[in-house]
């Protein structure tokens, strides 16, 4: 889409300021603030009920917030009706218009903005070229595959060169290979066009792949707004640690001897939280990634390592890696992940010790109202895709 690179309208900065939306007494979005820079690709990540879709609907204008403000390049957006917000949108299940062909679908936003004639045709052709469907203009929507429909939806969303591109689970309906390919393509396109993108997904892998920054939401609250790297390596609390990536998570308070109280006698050493402050005497969460956990015979773990005992309860191959599932005395399942190419030296039912370099532990605060604040049991979280 190089011909347009010079005359494109660059994306706007979006300042979300303490946006709150209540349904009855429960806040669906609870005082969420995000400073999204012009040209930034931001993903709202969270489980269902986290408020991510509600927040997107508020930004799009389909719902109004109860409190807070939305500033686009410093201008309040909340009082602007949907059709004048100058947004482009990619919808879940595409929402392509079945009575219009590809060209007419892509032309729709331009038609609504009163653009006609050769200029409109040129812009439609450019948009179709940008999504690699230059010859598909006359096709009917029903003749397209899922991936092609997704591309048409994307072309339709960018054709008017909107100040904001909003995407609601844009890849949810596609199979994995197609999704991977389109993730990269959407990232490329948004950067080439300088679009400011707000994307919504429940798929952390998609969020990590595509985003400049991720806003992790949980029950309406903003947990963390950070780069993928920060979110993965420096989660602010146990909610973030549990949600992003595969993790072994222990919650408890630290005893004088450096072990974690109430968590199968986990020995751990780091005296400071991930943000550098002292652990103190409060309750904390200790998280370690399965790929950093090693497995050995009972009693033979290095003295300096953090460790926990258990019994192998399962061995699962997942492509190039292998998951060893270990159940501790209290029944918690932990995971060690190792290279599948290495010879297997444990068997099911074998008692083992899991150990890891103390520096691999990530120690975070407990989120207010998180499950761990009441139940001190450690927890293993596995991602949907191994």
């Amino acid at each position: 889409m190089s011909p347009t690179a010079t005359d494109r309208a660059p994306g706007a900065a979006l300042d979300v300021r303490s946006i709150t939306k209540r349904y009855g007494d429960t806040p669906a979005v609870d005082a969420v603030s995000l400073d999204i820079r012009a040209g930034e690709f931001v993903t709202l990540l969270g489980a269902s009920g986290s408020g991510k879709t509600t927040l997107l609907r508020i930004i799009a204008g389909f719902a109004d917030a109860d409190e807070g403000s939305l500033l686009v390049d410093g201008q309040e957006l909340r009082s602007v009706p949907v059709h004048r917000r100058d947004i482009g949108m990619v919808f879940q299940n595409y929402a392509l218009f079945p009575h219009l062909n590809v060209e007419q679908n892509v032309a729709y936003p331009l038609r609504m903005r009163g653009m006609r004639g050769p200029e409109r045709r040129r812009r439609v052709a450019e948009a179709l070229e940008a999504v690699h469907l230059p010859t598909f203009g006359r096709r009917r929507i029903t003749e397209l595959s899922g991936g092609q429909q997704q591309r048409v939806a994307l072309a339709r969303a960018i054709v008017s060169r909107p100040r904001l591109l909003l995407m609601d689970e844009p890849l949810g309906a596609l199979d994995r290979n197609l999704r991977d390919a389109l993730q990269l393509e959407i990232s490329r396109l948004s950067r080439e066009l300088g679009l400011t993108v707000v994307n919504v997904t429940h798929d952390q892998e998609e969020a990590l792949t595509m985003s400049d920054r991720i806003a992790l939401l949980d029950r309406g609250r903003l947990v963390q707004f950070a780069t993928p790297d920060d979110l993965y390596h420096r989660p602010v609390d146990d909610t973030a640690a549990a949600f992003v990536g595969e993790s072994n998570l222990f919650r408890g308070s630290v005893r004088d001897d450096g072990t974690l109280d109430g968590a199968d006698g986990v020995v751990f050493s780091p005296p400071s939280l991930v943000d550098g402050s002292a652990v103190g005497s409060g309750r904390v969460a200790v998280m370690v990634r399965p790929s950093l956990v090693r497995i050995t015979a009972v009693g033979s773990a290095p003295e300096a390592h953090s460790r926990v005992d258990g019994r192998v309860s399962g061995i699962v191959y997942a492509g190039d890696s292998r998951k060893i599932i270990v159940t501790t005395a209290s029944g918690t399942e932990l995971i060690a992940r190792e290279d599948a190419a290495r010879p297997l030296d444990v068997s099911v039912e074998q008692p083992v010790t899991l150990h890891w370099d103390a520096r691999s532990s990530i120690v975070t605060r407990l989120a207010a109202g998180s499950a761990g604040a009441t139940a001190p049991a450690p927890e293993t979280r596995r991602t949907a895709r191994a």
């Binding site: 059709h83 949108m89 299940n93 929402a95 729709y108 936003p109 609504m112 339709r156 969303a157």
Partner: protein, 287 residues
């Protein structure tokens, strides 16, 4: 599908035999009487047809019927579309209320509904009494025995067909499409006219066609509300058969009506697709 697994052969045979019963019924109840009518219409060669077409009153009733059918179709569309839209797009409670009201009207005998309109539109009916009470008029208005009365009554009786056809079509259109249109720069009004309305047209067409064709054959309601002044085809046929005892000519008129209906359905099937004409629109239009 494996024959062994599903025992489809036996199941199919069973359905075919049940279907044959239905076929037998259709043959006896429809085809046989129809054959009798056709045979009678031809009992004097084509003379009955010549007489029918030479009859000024029959030609006039054809015109009356066409005007009535167009009127009822248009009124049903104008009244029915917003009703169907409200039914398809409002919340569960409102939608249920609208559907219940519609079905109550639909299930009430057409005779009862025609008489009800007679009571309302009579010289001493509700409308005239009310207008006189309010002092708007001194003498009762001529409401009953006018084409307008027939139009009102027929629209009331047939509008459920339009509503249900449009409703079925609208239900198949995802509300997300209109929302998407707004997200892409359309006002609510433009989103409706550029997306929802064009997608609902097959339903509107099917409902309208149904109402148009049904109107052509109505007799009772025009007789009760319109009187004898502006007879429709049905009234012409009854007059020939019952009053003038000209069963041959009456049958010829009935056959002419049948041919008109067949031609209309044929043309509609050609341009709208037979399935839609029969209200069997199975292709969902939102995917």
């Amino acid at each position: 599908m494996g024959r062994v697994l599903t025992n489809q052969g036996g199941g199919r045979r069973w359905w075919i035999s049940v279907g044959l019963l239905g076929l037998l019924f259709v043959l006896l109840a429809l085809v046989v009487p129809l054959a009798v009518v056709v045979q009678r219409s031809l009992d004097a060669g084509f003379d009955n047809f010549a007489d029918a077409l030479a009859s000024a009153s029959f030609i006039r009733s054809l015109g009356n019927t066409a005007v009535l059918a167009v009127g009822v179709t248009l009124c049903s569309a104008v009244i029915g579309y917003p009703y169907a839209y409200a039914m398809a797009r409002s919340g569960r409670v409102v939608s249920r209320i609208l559907l219940t009201a519609l079905m109550l009207s639909f299930w009430t005998s057409l005779l009862v509904r025609s008489y009800a309109w007679q009571v309302i539109l009579n010289d001493t009916g509700l409308v005239n009494e009310a207008l006189q009470f309010l002092g708007v008029i001194d003498e009762p208005l001529q409401l009953i025995r006018t084409p307008a009365a027939t139009l009102i009554g027929m629209t009331h009786i047939l509008v459920p067909f339009t509503i249900l056809a449009i409703f079925a079509q609208l239900r198949g259109i995802s509300p997300d499409l209109a929302i998407a249109a707004r997200g892409l720069g359309a006002t609510r009004t433009r989103a409706f006219w550029s997306v929802t309305f064009p997608l609902s047209l097959p339903g509107l067409a099917a409902g309208s066609l149904l109402v148009f064709v049904l109107t052509l054959g109505y007799y009772v309601t025009p007789q009760l509300l319109g009187g004898a002044g502006n007879p429709v085809i049905g009234q012409s046929i009854v007059e020939q058969t019952n009053a003038l005892l000209n069963t041959g000519v009456g049958s010829a008129m009935a056959v002419i009506l049948l041919l008109i209906v067949v031609v209309i359905l044929g043309v509609a099937a050609r341009f709208l697709g037979l399935g839609r004409v029969l209200g069997l629109a199975t292709e969902r239009s939102d995917r």
